[in-house]
C-alpha cells in the first residue's frame, strides 16, 4: 500500500516537473517578446538584455508608424464576416449531407476533403487571374475590395466547417426533426427551431476556426487586399520590409504590434476553450 502511495507521489513529482519544463518552453519566448516590446529602439541591438528604462512609448508609436488601427479594423471585419458566412453556408451544406441521400453526395464530400490537401499557394495566381477576368467583364473593381478576400477565405474555411458541423449533425436524433415536420413545420423552420439550437456549440467552434483562418492568413491578404483593406498580418510586414530595404527594423514597435494583434485571438480562444477542445474531439473522433 505504501509503495503505491509512494509511486503515486513519484509520478506526481514527475508530472509537475514536466509541466514546469513545458511552461518555461512556452513562456520564455513570449516573455522575451514582451520585454522587447518595452525596450527602446536604440537599445534593442545593444549588449544588455534588460533595457535601462521601460519604453511604453512603443505601444503609443505603433499606431502612427503603420496604419495599425485601420488594419485591425479590417482584420476584424474580414475575419468576422468570413466566420459568420462560412458557418451559415456550411450549416446548410452539412445539413443536406447529413440527412439526405442524393446523387453527387459522395462527390461533394470527396471534393471537400481533397480541397484540404490542395496547397493554397497554388490557387493564388489563377484565382487572381479569374478575379481580374470577372472584373473586366462586369467592369467592377474586385481586387482590393473586402468581399473578394472574404469570399476566398470563406471557401477555404468551408471544408473544415462542413466537417465539424457534420459530426454535430450526426448526433441529432432524426426523430426530433420528424416530429417538427409532423407538426407542419417547413424544412427551413425545422432547421431554425430544432437543429440550430442543438448544433450551436458546433457553430461556435466553426466560427472561431474560420475567424482564425482569415485572421492569420498572409498569402491571400498580401495579394487580394489593397492599402485601404489590408489586414493586420500584412500591415506588420511593413516593419520587416523596412529592414529588408536596408533600414532599421523597429523591433520594439513590431513586437508591441504583434502582441496587440495576437492577444485578441488568444482571449477569444481561452474563453471558448471548453467548446473548442470538445468540438475538435468530436470532429476528430468522428473522422
Amino acid at each position: 500500500m505504501t509503495s503505491l502511495i509512494a509511486q503515486r507521489a513519484h509520478w506526481n513529482r514527475l508530472r509537475m516537473l514536466g509541466i514546469v519544463i513545458f511552461g518555461l518552453a512556452i513562456l520564455l519566448p513570449m516573455a522575451y517578446v514582451i520585454l522587447i516590446s518595452l525596450t527602446p529602439d536604440t537599445e534593442v541591438g545593444g549588449g544588455a538584455i534588460f533595457p535601462t528604462h521601460i519604453a511604453w512609448n512603443n505601444y503609443a508609436m505603433m499606431w502612427q508608424t503603420v496604419h495599425l488601427a485601420s488594419d485591425i479594423k479590417n482584420s476584424i471585419l474580414i475575419a468576422g464576416v468570413t466566420g459568420i458566412c462560412a458557418t451559415v453556408i456550411a450549416l446548410g451544406a452539412a445539413y443536406v449531407i447529413a440527412r439526405f441521400q442524393f446523387r453527387g453526395r459522395k462527390t461533394f464530400l470527396y471534393a471537400l476533403v481533397t480541397m484540404q490537401t490542395i496547397p493554397q499557394v497554388m490557387m493564388l495566381l489563377p484565382l487572381f487571374v479569374i478575379f481580374v477576368i470577372i472584373q473586366n467583364a462586369i467592369s467592377v473593381h474586385l481586387v482590393g475590395q473586402y468581399y473578394t478576400v472574404i469570399i476566398t477565405y470563406m471557401t477555404f474555411a468551408l471544408p473544415f466547417a462542413c466537417w465539424l458541423l457534420l459530426s454535430y449533425m450526426a448526433n441529432i436524433p432524426v426523430d426530433l426533426e420528424e416530429a417538427g415536420l409532423m407538426d407542419g413545420c417547413t424544412r427551413l423552420q425545422v432547421l431554425r427551431y430544432v437543429v440550430l439550437p442543438l448544433v450551436l456549440p458546433g457553430m461556435v467552434v466553426t466560427f472561431v476556426f474560420s475567424f482564425l483562418l482569415a485572421w492569420s492568413d498572409v498569402l491571400f491578404a498580401s495579394v487580394l487586399t489593397g492599402p485601404a483593406t489590408q489586414t493586420v498580418a500584412v500591415g506588420l510586414q511593413a516593419y520587416i520590409a523596412s529592414g529588408d530595404a536596408g533600414g532599421d527594423v523597429l523591433w520594439g514597435q513590431l513586437m508591441a504590434a504583434s502582441l496587440t494583434s495576437g492577444i485578441p485571438i488568444v482571449i477569444i480562444f481561452l474563453f471558448l476553450q471548453k467548446y473548442i477542445i470538445g468540438g475538435l474531439a468530436n470532429g476528430a473522433v468522428k473522422g
Partner: protein, 325 residues
Amino acid sequence: MNHSEAVPDETIDLQVIQSVHRRRRMAHKRNRVPLWMLIPAVVLLVIVVVAPFLVSIYTSFTKLDQYTIANWTAAPFVGLKNYLSALHQGNALGASALQSVWVSVAFSVLTTLIITPIGIIAALLVHHPFRGRRWVRALFLLPYVMPVFVNAITWRLLFMNGWGVIDRVLAFLHIASKNTFWLIGPNSFWAMTIADVWSSWPFIYLMVLAGLQNIPGDLYESATIDGASRVRSFFSITLPMLRPILALALLLSTLNHFNNFTLPFMMFGTPPSPQADVLPLNVYVTSFQTFNFGLGAAMSMLTLILMMIPAFFYIRMLRLGEATS
C-alpha cells in the same frame, strides 16, 4: 406506413383519412432534398477552387509572364517545357524546384516526427485531474492559438544574428559563436524547424487529448490489478488505443506542414536561403517576384502530385460513407 395499411376498411373515419394525408404529405416533404441549401457552397467551390485549378493546369503548359498576363489566353503554348525547367533549374532567385521538394519533404516529415512525442507527453501530463489543470491546459494551447505570423516574427527576433537571445545564450554556454547566422545559410532550415515545432506541437496534443477521452478507464484498472506498471500500460493500452487518431493526426500534420507558407515567409522574407526555400515559398517567388507564372503553375502541379500520396491515405482513412451515415 405499415400502420395505415393495417387499418381495416370499416373503421376508416375522417381522422384516419386525415392522418394518412398528413403522412403522405410528410413523406413527400421528407423525400424532397433541399438541394438549394447546398448551392452556395458549390458555387463558392467552383469559383474559388475548381475554376482556378483548371486555369492553373492550363497555365502550366504556357509561357505566361508579366508581358503576356494582360491577355493570358494568348500566351504561347510550350508543352512540357515548364515542367522540365522546374525539375532542372527553377527560378533565378532561389533553389530549384527539385531542391525545394527535398527541403519541404524533410521539413514536414521531421517536424511531424518531433512534435508527435512532445504532443503525446503533453497530453498525458494534463489528462488526469489535478488542481489548476484548467490553467495548464490553456497554457499549453498558447503557441497554437497565437497567429502563425506572430510566432514567425517572434522567432525571427529570437534568432537574430549577434544580439538575438538564442545566439547570446549559445555564446554564453560556449556552444556556438554569437554569429551563428540562423536566418541565412544552412542553419535557416533548423531555425525554421525549431520555430515550427514550437508553434505546432499543440495540434498533436489536442488530437491525443481527444483520443485519450475515448479510452475506457476500466482497461487501466484491470491492468493495475494484473500488476502492470504505468509505463507498461502506456505501451500496451494507451498507445494501441490511440493508434487511429494518431495516424490521422500525423497525416494531417504532414499535409499542413508541407503547405506551410506563412512561417518561412515571415521568418526569412523573400527570397529565402536555398536551405529554407520550401516549395510553397518557391512557387510564390517564382510567380510573384520573377513573374514566371507558367513555371510557377508547373511547380504547383508537381507539388499537388506529390501531395496526392499523403492525401490518398488521408481520404482512405476518413471512410467518408460510414462517418456520415
